[in-house]
């Protein structure tokens, strides 16, 4: 039985990796990943062979990893954040039946919903929904339905892929949908370049967020009806104080 580790590297820097992720890289004979992520960990594995594929070629990359493992080598496939959140671990599991004898183990990492929340303050003290605004693999109608449901039920909402190359108005449209149920004064936050050079946060209202342009390095948070600004940070009270 050969092994494919699907490793989430956490936010930008090596500091965000878990011990388990480091151990998987050390155990691997070969590292597979998109070039940008390989660069992040190159210093950790200076002597390991690396197989890279261009961006967007997810199926090819996963097949390459599975094929290499099926040949008897231990492989670590690396992803930013957590490979289990809109990541490659699902595709690895889906294609694994074509490569019997390869055992897949996902090593979880700190995804942007957690690392972004940490630099913004404490927005996730209450129930939350994570929604990707990318309609590359999901019909926009389904995304709309989820945004409306999350807003109506007063979830804190975290938006992945808030900006796309093709459509520039996804975030604006998402805010308009949420505004059907939420106050324009709802506290929101943007976390950008989390854990990397140029890390930035911005706390603003939902009304302001609607007219704000974000880039693909941003993760967006929309508070629930109780989220407040405390010392410039975005905080959703949990209610302990009033117990």
């Amino acid at each position: 039985m050969s092994k494919l580790y699907v490793v989430g590297l956490g936010p930008g820097s090596v500091n965000g990796m878990t011990g388990a992720a480091k151990a998987a890289l050390e155990q691997a004979d070969v590292i597979v990943g998109y070039t940008v992520y390989i660069d992040l960990i190159r210093a950790q594995v200076p002597d390991k062979p690396v197989l890279t594929t261009p961006m967007r070629q997810e199926v090819e990359r996963v097949r390459l990893a599975l094929k290499t493992a099926a040949e008897g080598r231990t492989v670590a496939m690396v992803c930013s954040g957590d490979a289990g959140v809109y990541g490659m671990s699902g595709l690895c599991e889906e294609l694994s039946s074509e490569y019997p004898g390869v055992e897949i183990q996902t090593i979880p990492g700190v995804s942007a919903v957690l690392s972004g929340a940490a630099i913004l303050g404490a927005p996730l003290m209450h129930d939350f929904a994570v929604i990707s605004l990318s309609d590359l693999l999901t019909p926009w109608e389904k995304i709309e339905k989820r945004l409306l449901a999350a807003a109506e039920a007063d979830f804190v909402i975290c938006l992945y892929n808030p900006a796309s190359h093709k459509r520039r108005d996804h975030l604006k449209r998402a805010c308009e949908l949420v505004l059907r149920f939420a106050s324009p004064k709802t506290v929101c936050g943007i976390a950008r370049n989390i854990g990397r050079d140029g890390e930035q946060t911005q706390v603003l209202t939902l009304e302001e967020l609607k007219d704000t342009e974000v880039d693909m390095f941003s993760t967006v948070f929309i508070g629930n009806s109780e989220t407040r600004i405390i010392n410039g940070k975005m905080v959703t009270p949990r209610g302990y104080i009033h117990e």
Copy 2:
């Protein structure tokens, strides 16, 4: 300006900690936390003074941490998983105004929604909602509303605190609500003792989950309409294969 690090330790073992979490423990003069979590990291900080408080005394523990930091010492307050998810970082921010001069920094960790997903397979490849079934700080009506909204909009659902000491039927009631919109055959999963001795997973249908008793060391996942079982694992396809 003195510093309070609010540190998420990730799942059970030290292996689940990030480099940033380890660094915060090393920089701290004093460690504050609930006894069980201190035990997990004792070997990492053999010589540091430790302040513990009993379980449930969240407000007292946070005040102790803030007061110690206000006296000029660097403090690391430790939590399991991620302190930013139903954790202590919100309360620290809320009470911080009473202790001016203390800077709070949350160090995110791998929360059970991520670590549980990793051992179950890949359930979070699509939009998901995280809901706590504890009605200690949230009215049950609000929890019900969120369960119904998440089910109707076909979110993958992750349930924290699926079992309580007082009420044993929370999970059953949650499943009944989700069943109003989801098929009884919906793929579900239970992750128990994640990253610790006795780690266990179980994959089952929503119908079966409804009549299953879980304990407080369990995190429960309810798939969306597309979640499947692949090689015994719980996998929500993302759609790359059919692009």
